[in-house]
């Protein structure tokens, strides 16, 4: 993934690095510092972590891609693997090739031979032992290894020192000193291993870094909500959503907002509903188990017409499942959950920057259409960190919903909380507004909010609520389309698949496949553009990060021609790599081709 240059070292344009070991080994720290260094050198970065759902131990890895230009996922090929133990090599070997470099901690003995593909360049040293011997703490092995890794990647020694200083400063002088010492040990070791300054595998062409921010999807969601005037958040910790809570706990109070950890998810959503009644813009966030618990609340918000944003950071289900692994298998419950019929909106961002803009939209939409609005995330989209253009705050449009002030109420003849209206939306007065007294209930109710079972009123109220969604369709976030509209092969995929499909398309094009891709950004209600996209393609690969093909069947549910849909499903908990997808597609395309040929012969 690098273009060569007059100099023997290729210029680093796109590489992926994995640091892997046991949980607590600090792989993430190494990757974070590498990302920082590359950012400073003018490259863009994307990082991913892979941990077990436990505090210490268990295989854990962090991966970074550094690149020039635009990329939205980890690459298919790992250029450099830093393996802190043999298990790390075993777990990651399928991602490396003879072009890869491996840095290995051989403190417990040399790497089992035959494990690596032939030709792989191996740099082994006993980082752990050196750390224990010279510094008495295993912990410093990473900083030692960093020296080797940095040199290999073509980073400047001085730049490494600066990043170390930036990173460890706040942890106190002693810790900083030790880590710098470890780094120096590593650089010294690199010298011994023949990786001298400027003699690494790559050359970095330093450019003026474009201004970018490093964020994970969860932070973007939190910030988008806040920037859209969101001022109330209640939720309960759960992986991989907790950063939404934590980000808002940090930032919301500064803007006069409340962000509170509740006793459980039931309190989380119902406290949010109670707050929303007062007119404040409100959100909660959770993951699968919490989404299940919130179902009664979701339907209540639908029935009572309470504006509410609900973030579902999906992880591998069902039940407790695999809490740290990505999946997109709560789509069914977001679209179909809650008993009874009520309107809802489900938005599906595709990258941490998209998260920001869709969180703004979600917050506006919930307020405007007075209904629950889901933001469907997945673990990778939630927690992977990308460098993206700073959000354009000047473009943020905060559009208040239909509210009535005391003066406006006073001008009315009669004020009805649920008055029938053309667009199905009823303007309402928030508590505290003189004259705006009203009733809100999850029972069927008349225009005043009083419980009613009158059959005619019932039908009108149900229709009113669903009518809002028909109205909303006109302005719900459109998908992003890539490729020629007459390309025969289509892709539909959401969330973390956005970056993967974009990358895969490039590779597929190289291999002669002409594709187009629609990233739906509104999954529910289904927009016409989505069905039209399917109509337009000869066949559509619907990529489902779940076992049941939830997106594929949802399209059928909405009338898509099932004969055009090829359902690709993955649910092993591993993050998708573009190359894997490319292989899947090529395989199927060839199969189709063969079948066509066979059919042609048979005729």
């Amino acid at each position: 993934m690098t273009s060569t240059n007059t100099n023997s070292q290729p210029v680093l344009e796109d590489i992926s690095v994995i640091v892997a070991g046991q949980g607590g080994d600090g792989s993430l720290t190494v990757i974070t510092m590498l990302a920082d260094l590359f950012r400073n050198a003018g490259l863009n970065v994307y990082t991913e972590r892979d941990v077990a759902s436990r505090i210490r131990g268990g295989h854990a890895a962090a991966t970074m891609r550094a690149f020039i230009g635009e990329k939205h996922c980890i690459g298919s090929h790992i250029d450099l693997l830093v393996a802190l133990d043999e298990e790390a090599v075993e777990k990651k070997v399928h991602q490396i090739s003879s072009n890869s470099i491996v840095v290995f901690d051989d403190s417990s003995g040399p790497l089992r031979s035959g494990l690596l593909p032939e030709g792989t360049k191996l740099y082994a040293a006993p980082f752990n032992r050196i750390a224990m011997r010279t510094m008495r703490r295993e912990l410093y092995k990473n900083s030692i290894a960093f020296g080797i890794v940095g040199r290999l990647l073509g980073l400047e020694d001085e730049a490494m020192r600066q990043t170390f200083t930036k990173r460890f400063e706040r942890r106190g002088q002693i810790i900083l000193d030790y880590n710098i010492e470890a780094l120096e040990l590593g650089l010294h070791l690199a010298d011994e291993m023949g990786i001298k300054r400027g003699e690494g595998k790559y050359r970095i062409e330093q450019t003026e870094p474009e201004e970018q921010i490093l964020v994970m999807g969860n932070e973007s969601i939190a910030f988008g909500f806040m920037a859209a005037g969101g001022r109330f958040f209640t939720g309960y910790p759960i992986t991989p959503s907790t950063e939404v809570l934590e980000t808002l706990q940090k930032w919301l109070p500064r803007c006069g907002g409340v962000a509170r950890q509740t006793e459980d998810e039931l309190a989380g959503i119902n406290m949010a509903i109670g707050a929303a009644l007062t007119g404040v813009r409100t959100m909660t966030a959770t993951s699968g188990p919490g989404i299940s618990l919130m179902q009664e609340g979701v339907g209540h918000a639908g029935s009572g017409e309470v504006p509410l944003v609900i973030v579902d950071c999906q992880r591998s289900g069902p039940s407790t499942g695999m809490p740290t692994k990505p999946e997109q298998s709560d789509l069914n419950i977001m679209v179909f959950g809650g008993h009874g019929d009520f309107p809802r909106i489900v938005l599906t961002p595709g990258h941490p920057d998209d998260c920001f803009y869709l969180a703004v939209d979600a917050t506006n939409l919930a307020d405007k259409y007075q209904c629950p609005v889901f933001i469907a995330m997945d673990q990778a989209l939630s927690q992977n960190i990308a460098s993206v253009k700073p959000f354009n705050l000047d473009e943020v449009k905060v559009v208040p919903g239909k509210r009535l002030t005391a003066e406006e109420v006073a001008e009315l003849d009669t004020y009805k909380r649920y008055s029938f209206s053309e667009d199905g939306i009823s303007a309402f007065a928030a508590p505290g507004t003189p004259g705006g007294m009203s009733l809100v209930t999850g029972n069927e109710h008349d225009e005043f909010g009083l419980v009613s079972t009158d059959p005619k009123n019932r039908v009108k109220m149900m229709d009113k609520r669903f009518h809002k969604i028909e109205e909303a369709k006109k302005e719900l976030p459109k998908g992003r389309h890539f490729g020629e509209p007459d390309a025969p092969i289509g892709f539909i995929g959401i969330g973390m698949m956005y970056g993967v499909i974009l990358d895969a398309r490039i590779e597929l094009e190289k291999r002669g496949y002409n594709t187009q891709y629609l990233q739906p950004r509104t999954l529910w209600p289904m927009l016409d553009e989505t069905l039209e996209f399917i109509d337009r393609c000869e066949r559509v690969y619907v990529i489902d990060l779940n076992a049941q093909g939830q997106i594929a069947h949802l399209l059928m549910h909405q009338g898509a021609d099932s004969s055009k849909i090829i359902s690709i499903r993955r649910y092993d908990g591993l993050p998708y790599r573009p190359g894997y997808l490319v292989n899947q597609i090529v395989e199927r395309e060839e199969e189709l081709n063969n079948n066509d040929k066979k059919e042609a012969k048979a005729q």
């Binding site: 806040m226 500064r254 707050a275 007062t278 006073a410 009203s438 209930t441 029972n443 005043f448």
Partner: protein
């Protein structure tokens, strides 16, 4: 802004309770207390659970809300935290509050938000036709469990600040307790928990039994509601003697939830101007700056 306009809004409903239901008295006393305390209808949110008791909000002028079964307390706390300027009252039944809502009650005692909670205890599930509730005695409707006592429960939280029990058959005292509860929350002192013995004449008519059993601690000069341990002991003693203690069981002091977590330097959450983006622009810029690399 305080004189309500002449616009017509919903007409309070006629109560749907059975003739003789204790809840009538609760509503009557509540209306009077609100009047006496000068609470304006448009400043009042009355949030109710689900049950016969959970229809009270329909019957008075207010911002009324009918929560999910058992979830009235979280909703009420949400409303209070979003707009501490409002008078925010929760109401509901013993099933709603002590069965399905028990976890939230525990956490409301713990967090001490300035809301009042009127729990109409009829020791059964009225609306679903008389099943046993957490305060039903052993034997009622096949119930195998001892009824719980909410005063003891409340006392067990060192952050609880107001515990009282009234009786629909003693509206004068109930009025005093309710006004004290409103006073407590209006002055931001925290959670005012008021259980009201409110017999269900249709499924479990305890009126006479309770009339005979209540013991009014307000009239007991030796009783000190400011001592948690003494109150605990007294309630146990009275129960052992077959009494049901009513009156002001406990007064304590503890910072209220909203006083700690709502930023006093800023406009209250629900009173902010949605759409006035620039009011907090500096924090947004700050966020971006913090993530620049």
């Amino acid at each position: 802004m305080t004189t309500p306009p002449s616009t017509k809004t919903f007409t309070p409903a006629r109560p749907i309770w059975c003739a003789g239901c204790g809840d009538f008295a609760v509503q009557g006393v509540l209306e009077k207390s609100l009047r006496n305390m000068g609470i304006l209808p448009h400043k009042l949110m009355l949030l109710a659970g689900i049950g016969c008791s959970g229809t009270i909000q329909n019957n008075l002028k207010c911002y009324g809300y009918h929560a999910l079964h058992g979830r009235v307390l979280p909703a009420t706390i949400g409303a209070k935290l979003a707009n501490p300027d409002l008078t925010v009252i929760a109401a509901g039944g013993d099933g709603d509050g002590f069965a399905i809502g028990a976890g939230h009650l525990v956490h409301t005692f713990k967090s001490n938000p300035s809301i009042m909670y009127i729990l109409m205890n009829n020791s059964n599930y009225g609306l679903t036709k008389g099943q046993a509730s957490p305060t039903s005695p052993i034997g009622y409707h096949g119930n195998a469990e001892l009824g719980l006592d909410s005063m003891l429960l409340g006392l067990s939280f060192l952050s609880s600040t107001f515990l009282a029990r009234g009786f629909s058959g003693n509206p004068e005292q109930l009025g005093r307790l309710m006004e004290a509860a409103i006073e407590h929350t209006e002055s931001g002192k925290g959670f005012a928990f008021l259980e009201v013995l409110s017999p269900c004449v249709t499924y479990y008519d305890t009126h006479r039994e309770w009339r005979a059993k209540v013991y009014n601690v307000d009239e007991d000069e030796s009783f000190d509601p400011t001592s948690r341990a003494a109150a605990f002991q007294k309630v146990i003693e009275l129960k052992e003697q077959g009494h049901i203690p009513i009156g002001r069981i406990f007064k304590g002091e503890h910072p209220s939830l909203e006083s700690i977590i709502v930023n006093k330097e800023e406009t209250l959450p629900a009173q902010q101007n949605i759409g006035h983006f620039n009011e907090h622009r500096k924090h947004y810029d700050q966020f971006i700056k913090a993530h620049l690399v």
